[in-house]
């Protein structure tokens, strides 16, 4: 191979048409989805912590489960919300669903219809669990919820009936009456707002399910103990599904997740090698 032709290859590699990359991405996603490879999935420390935290919630506890997510975040957060709701329904706890993202209210409703708590878990709506609906006021709405739940969520989402007519609401007024808080979240409002309005003033144990991209933002709260445990990204969701013994959507997507990452790593490596090769030939760089 001559010097000129080798230079051409490295330069070409640095300027691959983005459409070629997108096409390859389609291939590495569709191929394992159509014929699964079943790559092994191990369980990480964080997923274990989250599982143990939810599992250790004592019987009779009142758990607020907030759907702070958008439809766009569903592929990553949807499996987490279903798995967490299932885990909670298997326990003898009172579940209060709510949403600070408008799509969250619909997603919570979808989860109820998917899991069918009455048929599959012997739970009764309004006695064992309730969907309090959506509050559009973000952080201010969280403060309102902490002070008076009936002002933040006047009617429930399923029957549009006043919240105080349900048995599950007996003795419940504000944040002090709840024992645990879980939020599955896409962004703002999310964990910083919950920490400011619920965790710091009331000291309620708090765990979250977040997008993978949110990890650097969540980690400081976790290190400070304000968030007791968290799962982030589709990988954690799959691990959590394994731990609760209900492998589902997240598990089914682990193969393409691995193949796409292999492709991205390959392109990063090729790009860097090509860059260093052309730089050394040009004699530039620092």
């Amino acid at each position: 191979m001559t010097k000129a032709s080798s230079e051409g290859i490295w330069e070409k590699l640095q300027s691959i048409d983005s459409r070629v990359i997108y096409l390859l991405m389609w291939v590495v996603v569709l191929w394992p989805l159509m014929s699964p490879i079943n790559l092994p999935v191990g369980v990480g420390r964080q997923s274990k912590e989250y599982f143990e935290w939810v599992d250790s919630i004592p019987d009779g506890s009142k758990v607020v489960f907030s759907y702070d997510l958008s439809f766009a975040g569903l592929p990553e957060l949807g499996p987490m919300s279903v798995a967490t709701f299932h885990h909670l329904l298997e326990k003898d706890v009172k579940i209060y669903l709510c949403a600070y993202w408008n799509s969250g209210a619909d997603i919570a409703q979808d989860d109820i219809e998917l899991l069918k708590p009455e048929e599959n878990y012997g739970k009764v709506y309004g006695v064992d669990y309730i969907h309090m609906g959506y509050n559009p006021r973000g952080e201010t709405g969280m403060t309102q919820f902490a002070a008076d739940v009936y002002k933040a969520f006047p009617n429930d989402f399923v029957n549009n009936r006043p919240l105080d007519t349900y048995e599950i609401m007996e003795g419940v007024h504000g944040a002090e009456d709840f024992d645990y808080l879980i939020s599955i979240e896409s962004g703002t409002p999310g964990s910083p707002e919950w920490v400011r309005q619920w965790i710091e003033p009331y000291g309620i144990p708090f765990s979250i399910g977040a997008l993978g991209v949110s990890v650097p933002g969540v980690a400081p709260y976790y290190n400070a103990g304000q968030i007791k445990s968290f799962i982030a990204g589709l990988r954690s969701a799959a691990e959590y599904e394994m731990l609760i013994g209900r492998p589902d959507v997240a598990m089914a997507q682990q193969d393409p997740l691995s193949t796409t990452h292999i492709l991205v790593i390959a392109f990063v490596a090729i790009g860097n090698i090509a860059y260093f090769c052309t730089r050394s030939k040009k004699g530039g760089g620092s």
């Binding site: 983005s18 400011r196 003033p201 997507q253």
Partner: protein
Amino acid sequence: MLEAIGPWLTAFFLLSIFSFTYKENPWFRFAEATYLGVAVAYSIGFDLDWLLNQWNTIWSVTGTKILLFAFALLIGLLFYFRFSKKYFYLYRIPLSIGVGTYIGLSLRTMVFAQFLTQIKATFIPLAAGTPLDIFNNILIFVMVVCVLIYFYFTAEHTGPLKYTAKIARYTMMAGFGSAYGNTVMTRMTLFIGQARNLLKHPPSFATFGILILGSLLLRDYMAKQKQVAVKD
């Protein structure tokens, strides 16, 4: 009926949006505009429903509350003076109420939740627990101190500060790398989730895949032919 149309609509809009990866095109623009319209209407619908609930359950019960509700609505309507050059200043009234309330509520606990507690979390024993804990704690201590020094701009990064600045740079690079890795995972997951949706209904996927991609390729081909004709 709706269940039969659903997968076709999903495939059409998903592939129209994905067609942007080929190049900017009318399919994408149509899907983008439709999405924006639907998303805004969806939000407004939910917000109005909440407002109606508030009215029915809390504010319509006594005369005083009705007056207070009407007053709040009037203040809210001042937002529309954003579109008037003459009365623009009125728009600032609801804005300042909103900003003031939000900042007041956040600041109430922000100092503790996002400042003091975070500082306290770095006060960790350097020799406690397992060897891995000790290593982690030392790492946290060194990195926090070095990054803080890095953003101390009064003194130039020379002498010993040159080394702390280097450690700080590596620390931040590691953070950015971790953020990038997580971003890749999130973006890939979104793509995989939608690809899975498309595979649930192969006829719609194939039909719109061929239609949209075919039309884009044909448009490019025709544009090239036109260029050749002009040159000739």
